[in-house]
């Protein structure tokens, strides 16, 4: 079915609002879903499609089912918007969530959400999905774009370890430190650059000089700060390592 006209009824089955606001957002000038022939209608009687959001709470279940049955029997498209509607999301096994299937902890794809009670035509995950993601889902339904996702099953034999021995150990310790200084996002990227310097250098003093050089290159004050801290913590780790060796203690067990 490639409808040129898609009147949708928005059905919230207990969502946190995030997805609902994004659905309204696709109507607005930047995204303008009306281009694709989509119109938000006030009653399920007018609708071609349901946009379902939310993990399906027990209280919403009955009205949601009624809304579905109030739709004309053809085409009755169901579009699950958001992670909750796709699979129950973060709320999947709460006591307040309606369930028809058991929520085992080991099944996949994970159960929950809209597919519990309605046949779903398009799943649009995201927490919340970007408006572009919703547009993409609608375009997919209309056959305007190609599907990009596909399931993957890897059984790769080889293992790549970017660093080994001492440096790998240092990197693990520094990861935890840099997270506190400038956060994981920028921190890990910076740590990668820093570790390259570490690999290149032969002594902490040489590393110190290279770090100074790098600080001059970086314009961002926060990254400079992060680099400074990394170097400080690096020296700390090296000291600790030396003192352990000095005490000649054999430590049993492997730290995670």
């Amino acid at each position: 079915m490639k409808p040129r006209s898609l009147w949708v009824f928005h059905l919230n089955t207990g969502a946190c609002n995030g997805c609902d606001i994004e659905i309204l957002d696709v109507l607005t000038p930047y995204h303008d879903i009306e281009r694709l022939g989509v119109k938000l209608v006030p009653t399920p009687r007018h609708a071609h499609a349901l946009l379902v959001t939310g993990p399906l709470t027990r209280q919403a279940y009955y009205s949601a089912r009624k809304a579905y049955s109030a739709m004309p029997s053809k085409p009755r498209i169901v579009i699950a918007i958001g992670t909750c509607a796709c699979s129950g999301g973060i709320f999947y096994n709460s006591y307040a969530i309606r369930r028809e299937s058991d929520r085992l902890s080991l099944e996949y794809p994970r159960k929950g959400g809209t597919s519990e009670f309605l046949p779903v035509d398009i799943y649009v995950p995201g927490c919340p999905p970007r408006p572009e993601e919703i547009l993409y889902g609608i375009a997919l339904l209309r056959g305007l774009v190609k599907k990009k996702m596909g399931g993957e099953h890897y059984t790769v034999k080889e293992l790549v370890l970017p660093r080994s021995q001492f440096n790998a150990w240092v990197e693990l310790l520094l990861r935890a430190k840099i997270r506190r200084e400038i956060g994981y996002f920028d921190g890990y990227a910076l740590l990668k650059d820093f570790m390259e310097l570490v690999e290149k250098s032969n002594s902490p003093e040489e590393l110190g000089k290279m770090v100074e050089l790098m600080k001059k290159r970086i314009k961002d004050s926060r990254l400079r700060y992060g680099l400074e801290m990394l170097y400080k913590h690096y020296i700390g780790v090296v000291r600790m390592y030396e003192s352990i060796l000095a005490e000649k203690k054999v430590v049993l067990g492997v730290s995670k």
Binding site: P109, L140, K147, E152, L172
Partner: protein
Amino acid sequence: MTKSYPFEPEEAPPEYRGLPRINPLLCIGCGACTNVCPPNAVIRIDDCSSGTRRIVLDVGRCIRCARCEESCPTGAIRLTREFEAATDDRNDHVEVVEMKLAKCRNCGSFTDYTERQVHKVLSIIPPGILDFERIRDKLPLCSECKRSLTIINASRVGGEWR
């Protein structure tokens, strides 16, 4: 003002937290991500009869918080900038990485960690800190054998293992 998406491709901003992806070359199957994931989108399934571990990521359950990225010790799981995950089949959302579990040196049954974990652990221990050869001998032990080893060690007070 309107963008021409979806008729023209669009990229999410560099800071965007998009779909998570596992790099199977880096994943060691430690399950750190499965422990921190708030919606349990990443799970760990051990099959003790065939000795495999599967790390299963379901994008359709993921809330994109990037805790997995933060906690992954090898940087195997990353949040990409991709966001186009709409599909008509939920199976498209699943990504599985399968690997072998390590065999216990003592009793031959499968342990609760993978060969890759052992490999990783051995390759990152800094020289001199651990008694290298010994650990290499003792490392792949199942929890049963580990427990009995601990008991043996405890009874050998002052022994070499203390």
